[in-house]
Amino acid sequence: MRSPLAQRSSGSIWNWRQLSPLLIPAALMGILAVIEPRFLTSANLMNILLQASPLALAAMGQAVVIISGELDLSQGSAAALAGVIAVLLAIETDSVAVGWIAILVVSVILGAVNGFLVTQLRIPSFVATVGMLTYADGMAYLITGGLPVDFPPDGYSWLGRGYIGSIPVSVLFVAVVAVAMHIFASRTRAGRALYLIGDNANAAVIVGIRPSRYRFYAFLLAGLLTGSAALILTGRIDSAPPTLSATLPFEAIAAVAIGGIAMTGGEGAVWRAVAGVAPIAILVNGLNLLGVNTYIQLILIGAITIAVVALQNVQQPIWFRWRVFS
């Protein structure tokens, strides 16, 4: 017997969480196209894709961690630290390959540390990754003395600024990674295990799945993806500043939430993280075109994150929660 307040079956498409990644960017683009004619040019759209690429990668990494039931707040500083070490090494050895490999290796190591802290020492993920954030931040500053590391060897920035034909390498890279992540999530044992663990870790234990092992993998993967985001970011500006992207984890979390992946874990296809990047990138682009203060972006992203997650949780219409404060 279903009470009138029963939750609608999640098979229905009339569900905010399912639709938001499609509705919001569509609405935004519609509004912007009307207000600002420069918005819909192919050059500008390509620009949006370019800007969105590193965030898309970071968002996918964050998505994996959130699906498994944890959180990674260290993405920004980890990216900065990895970038710094990588470019330094690249300059030392005058080898682009060393730089690229180093940035990924360092990020994975940092991810492994996160994973260790959370799964073995059982420190809550927000504390562990915030600690890592501070630590990596400090290390990055320490190594560079506060100054960006400039002039990596030629070719380093190919991933960030190169083109294959008329398509930017970074966009292609993101596309490839997105496909790979989709395969990971839907076709590998680890991917499947992560969803089961995020849904109900106790039930997963009963069927013989070990949450700590797979959560560790999730942090490793997040590290790898953060590293690739760092690759593109440093490549784009041809330098590795110690403050590469302080807001990266926050924007990534916002993208995951807007894309419709539940913050409580256990559900949500990975493509949604990429889809959630779209409104953010469109918003930023639009605001820039309109000459609006860049600080507003930060505010909006923060406010939108809270609003979207809050709406996710509202399953009954607000007016049923009449006694709001009890």
Binding site: G11, R187, R189, Y195, L196, I206, G208, A262
Partner: protein, 505 residues
């Protein structure tokens, strides 16, 4: 003749989805007396209690309190009317002191603007109540440091802060050790002396004999016996609880047992069970039953590796071992159905498909890549076999009925060809049709040579499905019954009475 009742329940009826849970139930509680409520699981006791404390409304019938007809519309209203309930799960805040817990939400205040807590008054009142209950607990002690029995006393004290006329206690002795039960009973006697009317739900004969004035037995929602405790014998009570109807809802099966698959020796686990020894053979169903808190459920958890073991060993197929985690147990061919499918059994957001294959994840993914087509075929097969009804395999499991969910929680282990099945309350909270399906499944398993350890509090289920029965009490095995001796009366006698009764036949 009983003195005029404090609270009278007249002809209460209640049905859930067409299922009659209470049928014309009468009950009368008098001030200063202890009224014992007995009945099997599903007899309707908890529904009756929920009606009395305002959580449910009766479909028909009336409640009369001190001569006036009342509607108990909500828990707050019940408290206003002086009805207090002590549940099995205490509503205490462990990090606060005893006094604060007793006054939770009702802290006495003093001073300008009633800003300040009146700690002196709080302490005084707490000491008063605790002395009334005969407890020697320091009001300033932290609840976290108290043992279960003391916490229960605090919970009782809490319910007495307001003026209460009626105190309802739901199986309060379940979690207590022997000496603690003594103290509890003293407390209840004291309360009765004080004029409170007490409704006491329990199955333990010695308690009933000691403090009970009047007893009512519920069976299948009906009031089948209502008498003064001194006028009724233990046997009569057991008979009425069980009923004379012959239950034929359990499919027949011939018993042919093979070698010993599982042997447990002196298995102990802190606060749960002590020194348990049992053997499980191919093709047999061993039921383990006892009153609430007997430790059978925890025993299953210990064997499967979910619960920490403090002593003893397990032998599977002759190999001595102890499982530190479920994955090892699963590798040795053991399957497990947990007690609460919502918290430990089903992954609610995940699809039916993924839930079903969750226990053969490794087998379905050699080299780490999932064989999706094979998975689909396997699931199509098994879903049909265990009879799960679902619109689609990709539907989230939370959309399934309890019965279908339970079929998955049990049936998925078939994919592993497990040899030993530990089933904890396998048919709790599911409809009759699903129950039958589960029983048929169990029989099939056993016919194919598997062994089943059935841990349940459903007496009919145990009697109907088990070849042998172990009766447990407070963590120990007190008796073993087999063959024709496996009857509800025998089990109840062993479980509830102090004397160790009937042996094997």
């Amino acid at each position: 003749m009983l003195p005029s009742g404090v609270i009278e329940v007249r002809k209460i009826c209640k049905a859930f989805s067409g299922n009659r849970v209470l049928d014309d139930v009468d009950l009368r509680l008098s001030a200063g007396t202890v009224h014992v409520l007995m009945g099997e699981n599903g007899a309707g006791k908890s529904t009756l209690i929920k009606i009395l404390c305002g959580i449910h409304q009766p479909d028909s019938g009336s409640i009369v309190i001190e001569g006036r007809r009342q509607v108990i519309s909500s828990p707050a209203r019940a408290i206003e009317l002086g009805i207090c309930v002590v549940h099995q799960e205490f509503n205490l805040v462990p990090s606060l002191t005893v006094a604060e817990n007793i006054h939770l939400g009702r802290l006495p205040v003093r001073g300008p603007f009633n800003l300040c807590i009146d700690r002196k008054a709080m302490r005084r009142k707490s000491e008063e109540l605790l002395t009334l209950l005969g407890a020697t607990i320091d009001p300033l002690a932290e609840v976290n440091d108290l043992c279960v029995a003391d916490r229960q006393l605090v919970e009782i004290a809490r319910s007495l802060v307001g003026s209460s006329k009626v105190l309802i206690m739901d199986e309060p002795s379940a979690a207590l050790g022997a000496s603690e039960v003594d103290r509890l009973l003293e407390t209840i006697e004291r309360l009765a002396d004080f004029g409170v009317a007490i409704l006491y739900v329990s199955h333990r004969m010695e308690e009933i004999r000691r403090i009970g004035d009047h007893v009512t037995v519920l069976r299948d929602g009906q009031c089948v016996l209502s008498a003064d405790v001194e006028n009724v014998s233990d046997d009569e009570l057991i008979e009425e609880m069980v009923g004379r109807k012959v239950e034929n809802q359990y499919p027949q099966r011939s018993v042919a047992c093979g070698k010993t698959l599982l042997h447990v020796s002196n298995l102990s686990s802190w606060r749960a069970h002590d020194d348990v020894t049992l053997s499980l053979r191919e093709g047999e169903v061993l039921g383990v039953v006892g009153p609430l808190g007997c430790g059978n459920i925890e025993l299953g958890e210990s064997i499967f590796g979910v619960r920490e073991v403090s002593g003893g060993t397990i032998e599977v197929d002759g190999v001595e071992t102890l499982f530190s985690s479920p994955s090892f147990a699963i590798e040795s061919g053991i399957a497990f159905v947990p007690q609460d499918r919502k918290t430990r059994g089903i992954m609610a957001k995940t699809s039916v498909l993924a839930n079903t294959t969750s226990c053969i994840l490794r087998e379905l993914s050699p080299h780490g890549i999932m064989q999706l087509r094979r998975e689909r075929m396997i699931v199509d097969d098994i879903i049909a076999k265990i009879g799960v009804v679902t619109a689609s395999l990709s539907l989230s499991a939370r959309n399934l009925s309890g019965g279908n969910q339970q079929k998955i929680v049990l049936g998925r282990w078939l994919l592993r060809d497990a040899r030993i099945y530990i089933l904890t309350e396998p048919t709790r909270g599911i409809d009759v049709g699903a129950k039958e399906a589960i029983y048929r499944l169990i029989n099939e398993l056993v016919a194919n040579g598997a062994a089943v350890l059935l841990l349940s509090s459903d007496l009919k289920e145990i009697v109907g499905m088990s070849d042998r029965v172990l009766v447990m009490r407070r963590g120990h095995v007190v008796n073993e019954l087999s063959g024709d001796a496996v009857t509800a009366e025998n089990i109840l006698s062993c479980a509830l009475c102090n004397e160790v009764a009937v042996g094997t036949a």
